[in-house]
Amino acid sequence: MLSLKDFEGQKPAWCPGCGNFMILRAFNEAMVELGLAPHEFVLVSGIGQAGKLPHYTRGHTFNGLHGRTLPVATGIKLANHKLKVFAVAGDGDCYGEGGNHLIHAIRRNPDIKLLVHNNQIYGLTKGQASPTSMKGILTKTQPFGVISETFNPLAMAVALDCSFVARGFSGYSEHLKELIKEAVHHRGFALIDILQPCVSFNKINTYQWYKARVYELDNTYNPEDKILAFQKSLEWDDQIPLGIIYRVNKPTLEEQIPVLKEEPLVKQKLQLGKGQELLNSFY
């Protein structure tokens, strides 16, 4: 039997009160409840406060470059599709630096679960605007306020027919834990955008700010309805929906690659004996 003790990692270097702590807790509890032992999954993360999460729990870890979590995670999944693969990223990491990879990961649909710690700010680099920062906010590098439109990851994901699109809030860690479990049970690429207060650099989108706006979708909501999902994904200012926004069943990347029909790539025998035959084809 797994317990939270199995997921005790390094001592977190996050600020006291940071929303990341509750995400870490939700993740660990989800693993315990799912019965996923540390050696059965891989955490791929980028650089930022979010990217440090793998060190604070236990699991196989590839903590790579800022923005590049999804390509690494895809490579791992294709090499060994028996491993559960999680990607953990910040909003800057995943929606900014690595935005292109997100688009194409959704298109490929590998069975990867992506957790985006969306604090609407660059935490680790001390408070610059991120793609999800609200228009008009002032930062040291946006002294006249953010001019660009706020990026809406969920609307984009629905538009791209992402197979699982959800929003969580680190303040509601029970709910978040359930979302993580749902994502793991779902077969295909899953995006969970997690609203995460950054107590040090985001003085606008605080716990209170989120709590005043978020609401949980109940079971009258049908996440299989794409048009409805798109509408839901556009809700923001006063009413911010939490839960599974969109879900669709479709074949995963690895299921569609003929070579991966049976065993994972890493387990397959090399066909070196056929090398000579290949060489002979040059005559």
Binding site: F62, G75, H101, I257, V259, L270, L278, L279, N280
Partner: protein
């Protein structure tokens, strides 16, 4: 022994006319007949129009470069005549179709072959014109018709009986016409026996990767590397390879890192611009000690440069690529044969030392085709350097970046034991977790760099000396400079004590430095490079202190031909 038979055939025309098909078909037919061939291509970055050519050298001894003089020009457009007639040798001939070129040439050495007419009449369609041309070339050369027909049958076997039949008829028509009408043709073909294999640099790398145990390839198309991608994708199902086209080169290298982390041999290939995007990933391979192989097929830069032409100006870029200090290996094959063996070496070095290895080629090597009596795969023994299965499960504890005497930590694969594998792009401890302390940093740099580097140097081979073993004149070159420089040495060896020193294992240079003596013994040292700034010479000076004073550089995007290079060398030698 001087060979009598050494012909060059040039096929010129617009993009989209099928120059490559004609060239490839001829090269393969010649090789199957038992001749040695060498072919190179010159094409523009466009799909239709412009001017392209394909040059084949046909001989009865191994050949490794193109010559300036041509004996047969197949002109599929007028431009080919305007541009290349002057390259004809004394008894050189031109094959053209006056209907197609809308002009008749009254010269004795011009043979007007009604390619289109014969194609329609005997092959049933205009599109058979290229096959008529193949037949006509063979007819002019006076080859055995049966050999041509066999060759066509073989290369079209998959296309069905009707297509084969139509092509055979078209080839026969071209053959008979040229054979009868070319009264001045006096080609002398030598008697040859065993069929030769034909392989390009790109194919040799693809083949090398597959026979070295490649399982995962990710790339983003970029000339001249795309041939490798095509080759590997073509054989994916047969050899159980996963091939994924990435959204960009950053993704490609990161996917390759992920796949390697998960336990399979992985590779990507690109050219300069794509490699520039991969540089951060290269550094990540260095920090996480993840084995990967990257092919950098050079083309002229900066920026987009000449997309389809050749240059070897990314050596120092490759050498310095990646922020921070970490070991890497750079190998630059000079021939498809070397490409095959160095690809094998690349995978082994990468995995043995858990480092990135760069295979540096260029458009000239990537696309040129060489012929061989055979290539030997018997030394390509597969050795797995990873920790798997029982060996891994049996361990009491596991640390991905454990400190060891050799600097090499056990490379285990995730999911096969209860141990977790942790690695990080941040500086980390033995377990792979982020650290900030100075002491661990020093120990990690020592492990990754200072411990491994001397061991890597032990595995590197010295440059190859070809020609006189005590040369007065030493020609220094690297990578694709091999073929041309070798033949120059062959041709000048009657007059001079001359040799070539060819570098294919460029970095790090080997531990054994006895080869350095040759630089002090030779009276004249000439460095030959396909770039403007003599990058190998700079590398040598940096690593060994040796300074070369004489340089021949070419940076117009075209490869050296033997005659041009000889002239340049002669000019140097006359001054001494």
């Amino acid at each position: 022994m001087k060979s009598i038979m050494d012909y060059s055939i040039k096929i010129g025309g617009e993009a989209g006319q099928g120059i490559q098909t004609v060239g490839d078909t001829l090269a393969h037919i010649f090789a199957r007949a038992g001749y040695y061939v060498f072919s190179h291509q010159d094409y523009e970055s466009r799909i239709r129009g412009g001017h392209n050519f394909y040059q084949i050298r046909l001989a009865d001894k191994p050949v490794s470069c193109s010559r300036s003089k041509i004996h047969l020009l197949v002109a599929l457009d007028k431009e080919s005549i305007l541009l290349h007639e002057k390259e004809l040798s004394e008894n050189g001939h031109v094959l053209y179709d006056s209907f197609y070129l809308k002009e008749k040439f009254k010269k004795a050495n011009f043979l007007d072959v009604p390619l289109t007419e014969l194609a329609v009449k005997h092959g049933g369609s205009k599109i058979m014109a290229n096959t008529v041309a193949v037949g006509a070339v063979a007819g002019m050369l006076g080859m055995d018709l049966m050999i041509i027909l066999e060759g066509i049958k073989r290369s079209l076997a998959k296309k069905g009986k009707e297509t084969v039949e139509a092509n055979l008829n078209a080839a026969k028509a071209g053959y008979s016409f040229a054979h009868e009408e070319c009264l001045t043709c006096s080609f002398m073909l030598a008697e040859v026996k065993n069929p030769k294999l034909v392989i390009s640099g790109n194919e040799a790398i693809g083949l090398g990767a597959i026979v070295s145990g490649l399982k995962f390839y990710s790339g983003y198309p970029m000339t001249p590397s795309t041939g490798i991608f095509n080759f590997i994708a073509e054989h994916a199902l047969d050899f159980g390879l996963v091939v994924e086209q990435a959204e960009d080169e950053i993704s490609a290298i990161n996917m390759v890192l992920g796949a390697s982390f998960a336990g399979v041999r992985a590779m990507t290939a690109t050219s300069g611009g794509g490699f520039a995007l991969m540089v951060e990933g290269l550094s990540l391979a260095g920090m996480t000690e993840t084995p990967i192989v990257i092919v950098l097929a050079q083309r002229p830069g900066p920026a987009t440069g000449f997309p389809t032409r050749t240059e070897a100006a990314d050596l120092l870029f490759a050498l310095h690529a990646g922020h921070g200090e970490f070991p890497k290996v750079i190998l630059a094959p000079g021939t498809p044969e070397q490409a095959l063996s160095l690809t094998y070496k690349a995978f082994n070095l990468a995995e043995k030392f858990q480092i990135p290895v760069i295979l540096l080629t260029d458009q000239y090597l990537a696309d040129s085709q060489w012929s061989y009596d055979g290539l030997d795969l018997t030394n390509f023994e597969y050795r797995d350097y990873r920790l798997r299965g029982e060996d891994f499960r049996g361990l009491k504890e596991y640390k991905r970046h454990a400190f060891t005497e050799s600097g090499i930590s056990p490379l285990a694969i995730p999911g096969e034991a209860e141990h977790v594998i942790v690695t990080d792009s941040d500086e980390h401890d033995e377990d792979g977790h982020i650290v900030e302390d100075a002491e661990t940093r020093i120990r990690m740099v020592t492990k990754r760099l200072f411990r491994k580097m001397p061991l890597i140097k032990k595995d590197m081979s010295p440059p190859l000396l070809y020609g006189d073993i005590n040369p007065e004149i030493l020609l220094v070159c690297w990578g694709s400079g091999y073929g041309i420089t070798k033949e120059v040495v062959d041709e000048l060896s009657a007059d001079y004590k001359i040799a070539m020193l060819h570098f294919s294992e460029l970095f790090p240079l080997p531990e054994d430095e006895t080869w350095l003596d040759i630089f002090t013994k030779a009276r004249v040292v000439i460095n030959i490079e396909q770039n403007a700034t003599s990058q190998l010479a700079k590398l040598l000076q940096m690593e060994t202190g040796i300074k070369i004073e004489k340089h021949i550089n070419r940076f117009d995007g075209r490869p050296f031909t033997i005659d041009e290079l000889k002239e340049k060398i002669d000019a140097f030698l006359k001054r001494f």
